[in-house]
């Protein structure tokens, strides 16, 4: 697969090539070249399957990382494409014209991270959360515990045990609390 990487490097600005497994390689590509690289892989290199499209919130670097996972069934080989986009104005070009089901992933990312994909079908409709009014819940600056305490009625008197210690003290009471 080094040949494929060399071929890609001739045409695209590719960084951080990571060999994760024998059949899985990750690489990073600039935002502007991402869609053309994916189109090239799909049409010329026979990566016919979009496995998933997810995002990672790098809040310290003020970036969102999009992960496009493509799969080549001929060589049974997967290629992960990382794209770093701006976190303040997260807009990315849609790839729903390449795979129809990408629009579902994009709807989910719009709802959970607030990443916009202009032109993607039904991008503005509710996907899982109905009538969500707060900031998108999978962003790392969203405090889910505080939101839960504010919104749902927490029952007082909740007590948590470390299951290992608790079961030990139940089953072997003669051994005491420690150990």
């Amino acid at each position: 697969m080094t040949k494929l990487i060399d071929r890609l490097k001739a045409n695209f600005r590719i960084k951080n090539v990571t060999m994760q497994r024998a059949d899985l390689i990750f690489l990073t590509v600039p935002e502007k070249q991402a869609v053309s690289l994916i189109t090239y892989l799909r049409n010329q290199e026979n990566f016919s399957h979009l496995v998933f499209l997810t995002a990672v919130d790098w809040i310290e670097e003020n970036k969102f990382q999009l992960n496009y996972m493509l799969h080549n069934h001929g060589f049974n080989f997967s290629l992960g494409i990382r794209v770093m986009i701006n976190r303040q104005k997260p807009v990315m070009t849609s790839i729903h014209h390449l795979w129809e089901h990408a629009s579902t992933y994009q709807r989910e990312l719009k709802e959970m991270f607030g990443i916009d994909f202009p032109g993607s079908p039904e991008i503005d409709q509710n996907f899982i959360l109905e009538g969500w009014e707060d900031i998108p819940p999978l962003r790392r600056d969203f405090d889910t515990l505080k939101y839960s305490e504010r919104t749902y009625f927490p029952r007082t008197g909740r007590k948590s045990h470390d299951p290992r210690k608790f079961m030990k003290s139940k089953i072997y009471p003669e051994q005491g609390e420690e150990r």
Binding site: N126, E130, S148, Y152, F153, R158
Partner: protein, 210 residues
């Protein structure tokens, strides 16, 4: 025999519905059903306790325990418990575990469509205090703030034996005339509605889905 509430009930606003759909839905409030006197109510309660029809609707992972309940090994049919496909025909709704806001909307619709007398069985620790989803952004912490609950069955998940024990307890409650959840709902209707509307932001259904 079935008397209305003392003060004449006012109409519900149904503000969530669009104008051209308002005439399709009922705008009456739920009514309190006063029990009959003496032997007749006892007979009715005996009959209700021995023909519990449950709504076959699983809201969470707890619904997986309802399947062994109905099949040969635990066989709840021998206790007069049968699953029904629609809320109109059922008298028990089982909240099967964690309940997200999206599911709660469907639970409220189903619960309100059931006919009196109706009972609620809440499975699992998620319905009691949120369980392992207690700090989740999308899962409610306690179900009894939104609908009245008769029996809680603790556990994660409770086994079918525990659910049968819960059904037995529910039968005792019904026979002693203490399972008055539907009346509780009608009495505190405004409180329940305020709690429900606090978390369901896109309320696009009638206020009471009779």
């Amino acid at each position: 025999m079935l008397k209305n509430q003392e003060n004449q009930p006012q109409k519900l606003a149904n503000a969530g519905l669009p104008e051209h759909e308002k005439y399709l839905f009922c705008d009456a409030r739920p009514r309190i059903r006063h029990p009959f006197k003496g032997f007749w109510e006892k007979f009715l309660n005996w009959a209700r306790a021995n023909s519990i029809w449950m709504l076959a609707y699983g809201t969470g992972c707890g619904a997986i325990e309802l399947r062994p309940l109905m099949t040969a090994r635990y066989d709840v049919f021998r206790y007069g418990i049968a699953p029904r496909p629609t809320p109109r025909q059922s008298s028990v709704i089982i909240i099967g575990g964690y309940c997200s806001v999206k599911t709660l909307k469907r639970i409220i619709r189903s619960y309100e469509q059931m006919q009196n007398p109706k009972f609620v069985l809440a499975l699992g620790s998620c319905t009691i205090n949120g369980g392992m989803y207690w700090d989740s952004y999308n899962t409610i912490n306690r179900i009894d703030a939104y609908i009245p609950v008769d029996i809680y069955i603790a556990g994660c998940m409770p086994r079918p034996e525990a659910i049968i024990a819960g059904f037995k307890k529910l039968k005792q409650l019904i026979k002693s005339g203490k399972a008055e959840g539907a009346n509780l709902y009608a009495e505190n209707f405004d409180w329940y509605k305020a709690n429900q509307k606090k978390i369901i932001k896109d309320w696009n259904m009638p206020d009471y889905n009779w």
